[in-house]
Amino acid sequence: MPDATSSHPGPSGVGPSGLDTPETVLEVRDLKVHFPVMAGAVMRKQVGSVKAVDGVSFMVRRGETLGLVGESGCGKSTTGLAVLKMLDITSGQVVFEGQDITRHDRARMRPIRRRMQMVYQDPFGSLNPRMKVAEIVGEPLEVHSVPGGRAVHREKVAKLLDMVGLLPDMADRYPHEFSGGQRQRIGIARAMALEPSLIICDEPVSALDVSIQAQVVNLFQELQERLGLTYIFIAHDLAVVRHISHRIAVMYLGRIVEIASRAELYAKPLHPYTQALLAAIPIPDPEVEAGRLQQIITGEVPSAMRPPPGCRFHTRCPMAMDVCKTVDPPMHGLEGGRAVACHLHG
C-alpha cells in the first residue's frame, strides 16, 4: 500500500538519515529491453534487434539519488522508461516498493504511476501549449481522481508552484510565456503533484542555459532534503551527475560497466570507460587543464544492433587484452556495494 500519510508540501517527515537502513525503493534485476528491427515491405519479418538495454541490475534506496551516465545509445533513457513501464520489457524484473511490476498491465500500473513520476529534458516539448500552468500542474490530480474537487486542487497547485519557486499569479499563464528554466520548474511541479516517492529525471537540465542549470539542480536537491524524495538522475554531463548523485552507474551499449558511490567513482574510477569519460570532460580552469594528461579515446560508440563480441568496450579500450575480445566480463562485486565489469578487475 502507498504510504500516503505524509502530506507535502509541508514540514519534512522522516528523512533518509532518520532511518537505520534505508529501504529499497526500486530494484531492477537483469533488465533487458530489445527492439525488433523489421525489414521488407510486404513480407515484414524481423531481421535483428537493437539491444538497447541488455542485462542491467541496480537498486535505489529511499532518499538517495542514483545517477545514470553514458553516451548516446548506452540505454540510460531506455532504462528509465522501462522502469516506468512506458515501453515493453523483454526480460528481467522491476520491483518497486516491494512489488514486482514487470508484468503489470495498464490498470494495475495506475496506482503505481502515482508513486513514480518523470521529469523530461525538453521543457518546451513536454508541456501542452494550450493548457494554462494551473491545468498542467493540476492535471495529474484530475486524472488520478485525487479527492477534494476543484477548490482543493487549486490550492494544491498554488502550493506546488510555490514549492518550485514560481509566483502564484503565474498559474493562469501559458507555457510560451515562460523561459526554459521556469518551464522546467513547471514540469517538476507537475511531477510532484501526486507526491511520488521516485522521480526519474531524464537529462532535466541539459537543455537549459548554463546560468539556469544551477537553479534547477539546487531545486532538485532542496526538494529531496525536504520531502525525502528518491531520484534516478539520467544525464551525460558527468560534472552535474557527480554534483547531484549519491551513487552513480556508468552505462555503455546497454550495460552497466561500473557502479559505485560518488566519492569512489570519481576518486578512483576502475573501468577504462569511466576513466575515458572523466578524462574527456574539460575542467573550467586553464591552469588545471594545462597540467592535465589528455588521454582521449578513439572511435565512437558502435551500433547497438551489432555490439562487439566479448567486452563491448574492447574496440575502444586502451587497455584491451586478448580475453576482452572473446569473453564478456561479468559484473564483479567489490567492497562497499561497488561493482565493475572489466577483466582487469575480475
Binding site: 523561459s179 539556469i212 551525460h236 560534472a239 575515458a276 578524462a279 575542467i283 591552469e287 582521449i296
Partner: protein
C-alpha cells in the same frame, strides 16, 4: 606587433521582429591575431552566433541587418565588399564550421565532392586533382578508411565522422581563419573531446586563427588563448583565458563560474546560481543588461550602460565596479 588578422570594430546587428527591432549584436569590438584561438562565450541570445555570422555576412536579410561597424580582415573591410568579393572569401580565406553537420552538408552529394568543391571553385584545381586532395584531407582529419570514404554520402557517416568531414571541408583552401559555432554541442562526450583536439591540432599546424563559439566554460579553458564573454548582445568581459579564469572582473563571469559544478572540486556543496532569467533582447534595461540579476547592482547600473574599459592590462570589463571586483 603587426596589424591583427581580424579586427571587429563597433559591430552592430539588428533583427526586425514582431515585438520591434532587436539589437542582437550591440557595439562589439575585438581583435584576433594570426594563429590565435579566441573563444566567444555566452548563453542563448547573448549574440555570440550572430557576431560570427555577421563577420561572414551570413545574416539573413531581412529580417536581419548589420547596422554599424567594421570587420577588417587582413586589411579589408568585409562589410564594404560586393557580393562576389565576399563569396571569394567565404570557404576560402575564412571557413565556417556549424553545430549541425547534417544540415550544413548536402545530403545528395558525396562527401568527397563537397570537400573538393571549394578547392575547384577557389583554387581552380581540376576536379580529379581536387578529389585527390579531398581524400588527403579526410585522412588528415583521421577519418577511418579515408580513401574509400570519399564516395560516401553524409547519411552514411556518424555524427563525429560528419564533423570530421566538415573540418576537412573547412581546411580545404588553407583558410587564415576558421569560425566554429558550437562545433561539438551535438556530439557525445568522448567524441566531443576528439573533435576539439583535432580542430586545435589542425588549426595550429596550418597556423590558422580560430574563433570558437561555445557556451561551455570547460571547452574554453581547455582550448582558448583569449576569451570574449557576451551577455545581452554585448561583450561584458574580454582578455587572456588564464587571466579571466583566475581573476574574473565582471559579475556575470564570476557568477557563471560559481554556478557550474567542477570535477576537481569537493562534491556535495550547493551551487551558487545566478538568480533570474537571461535578458529579453526586445526589452533590455537602459543601463547594464546584467543589472536585474546582479547582486552588486547600484543605481548607476540601472541608469547608465557601463563601457568596456580596461580593468588591467589586456583585460577588459564592462562593469561600473570592475575596480572593486578584484578577488
Amino acid at each position: 606587433m603587426g596589424a591583427p588578422l581580424l579586427s571587429v570594430r563597433r559591430l552592430s546587428t539588428e533583427f526586425r521582429t514582431e515585438r520591434g527591432t532587436v539589437k542582437a549584436v550591440d557595439d562589439v569590438s575585438f581583435d584576433l591575431a594570426a594563429g590565435e584561438t579566441l573563444a566567444i562565450v555566452g548563453e542563448s541570445g547573448s549574440g555570440k552566433s550572430i557576431t560570427a555570422m555577421s563577420i561572414l555576412r551570413l545574416i539573413p536579410q531581412p529580417p536581419g541587418r548589420i547596422t554599424a561597424g567594421e570587420v577588417v580582415f587582413d586589411g579589408q573591410d568585409l562589410l564594404k565588399l560586393g557580393d562576389q568579393a565576399i563569396r571569394a572569401i567565404r570557404g576560402n580565406r575564412i571557413a565556417m564550421i556549424f553545430q549541425e553537420p547534417m544540415s550544413s552538408l548536402n545530403p545528395s552529394l558525396t562527401v568527397g565532392l563537397q570537400i573538393a568543391e571549394p578547392i575547384n571553385l577557389h583554387r581552380k584545381t581540376p576536379w580529379a586533382a581536387a578529389m585527390d586532395k579531398a581524400a588527403e584531407l579526410l585522412g588528415r582529419v583521421r577519418l577511418p578508411d579515408a580513401k574509400s570514404r570519399v564516395k560516401s554520402y553524409p547519411h552514411q557517416f556518424s555524427g563525429g565522422m560528419r564533423q570530421r568531414a566538415m573540418i576537412a571541408m573547412a581546411l580545404a583552401c588553407q583558410p587564415q581563419l576558421i569560425i566554429a559555432d558550437e562545433p561539438t554541442t551535438a556530439l557525445d562526450v568522448t567524441v566531443q573531446a576528439q573533435i576539439l583536439a583535432l580542430l586545435k591540432e589542425v588549426t595550429r599546424a596550418a597556423n590558422s586563427a580560430l574563433i570558437l563559439i561555445t557556451h561551455d566554460l570547460g571547452v574554453v579553458a581547455r582550448y582558448a588563448d583569449r576569451v570574449c564573454v557576451m551577455y545581452g548582445g554585448r561583450i561584458v568581459e574580454a582578455g587572456p583565458a588564464r587571466e579571466i579564469y583566475a581573476r574574473p572582473r565582471h559579475p556575470y563571469t564570476i557568477g557563471l563560474m560559481a554556478s557550474i559544478p567542477r570535477l576537481d572540486q569537493e562534491a556535495g556543496q550547493r551551487l551558487v546560481p545566478i538568480e533570474g532569467q537571461p535578458p529579453n533582447l526586445a526589452q533590455l534595461p537602459p543601463g547594464c543588461a546584467f543589472a536585474p540579476r546582479c547582486q552588486r547592482a547600484a543605481d548607476v547600473c540601472r541608469r547608465e550602460r557601463p563601457p568596456l574599459a580596461q580593468a588591467s592590462p589586456g583585460h577588459l570589463s564592462a562593469c561600473h565596479f570592475h575596480a572593486q571586483l578584484h578577488a
